[in-house]
């Protein structure tokens, strides 16, 4: 995706990727939990800024938005609780329970430093 995005950008064009990544310096169990609790493809082994530089982006900068990510995750869980009667009707009891459990697992993973979210910017030379 990074390589394709770089290709279609004009020289001087800018990009912003919002990414959710496994936390730094985790042991094997923590890493497994981060992957299980996080969204798809969270298990990248290379830091995204390095990957962006590798495909040719310059002026690569990273903003840590993990605090906002935790607030948003928590708000999803809280508002689904608030609207639980209607949402159970829409998605069914099993799906509702599974989604809320997944959200709570992700909330705990972020609180424990297992998952982080970043906005990464770059420019095509």
């Amino acid at each position: 995706v990074l390589r394709a995005s770089h290709r279609v950008l004009k020289p001087g064009g800018t990009t912003v990727f919002a990414v959710i990544a496994v936390g730094d310096d985790l042991n094997a169990d923590q890493r497994d939990e981060a992957i299980a609790a996080g969204p798809p493809h969270v298990a990248s082994d290379q830091a995204y800024p390095d990957l962006m530089r590798a495909v040719g982006f310059e002026h690569v900068e990273t903003a840590d938005v993990t605090t906002e990510y935790l607030e948003t995750l928590t708000a999803w869980w809280r508002e689904w609780e608030t609207e639980s009667v209607d949402l159970r009707r829409v998605v069914g009891d099993d799906e509702y329970t599974e989604r809320q459990a997944n959200r709570m697992r992700a909330i705990r993973a972020v609180q424990d430093g297992l998952l982080r979210r970043y906005l990464i910017t770059g420019v095509r030379a």
């Binding site: 995706v1 995005s5 279609v8 064009g13 800018t14 990009t15 912003v16 959710i20 493809h41 948003t72």
Partner: protein
């Protein structure tokens, strides 16, 4: 890494119900908008993306992994940019197409994978993607 086909199927299920009133109410409270978001980008962060990308009238912008159109359609509506939305689940792109018509904004919708974008080299002024790479 979780199975890509399972992920696409799960997103397809999400888009089939995303226009339900209860889901829209929740999304407005959490994200600040109701496009059927599958990312954690809030309205405040979408505005931050627009400032960083310096989006303006007529600029060509690509939203990779656009889902149902958040934040691409919003960015088109608020900045005047011409946004191209790309993603795989057709259910999400259908939701996006309806919203583009409702909001009367300038957007294109292209079914494509993010790693094989069907566009010429060097045609976009800016590219954005939310929680697709993760």
């Amino acid at each position: 890494v979780k199975n890509g086909n399972d992920v696409t199927a799960a997103h397809g299920e999400h888009y089939r119900i995303v226009e339900e009133p209860a889901l829209r109410r929740v999304e407005r409270k959490v994200i600040g908008s109701d496009y059927g978001a599958t990312s954690y980008t809030t309205v405040a962060q979408a505005d931050r993306l627009a400032r960083y990308l310096d989006l303006g009238d007529g600029m060509l912008v690509l939203d990779v992994g656009s889902g149902a159109g958040w934040p691409g359609i919003y960015l088109a509506a608020t900045t005047g940019a011409h946004v191209t939305l790309t993603d795989i689940p057709e259910e999400g792109l259908s939701v996006a197409s309806r919203r583009i018509q409702e909001d009367d904004v300038t957007c294109d919708v292209v079914a494509a994978s993010g790693d094989s974008l069907p566009f010429r080299d060097g045609i976009f002024d800016a590219v954005t993607s939310s929680d697709v790479l993760c």
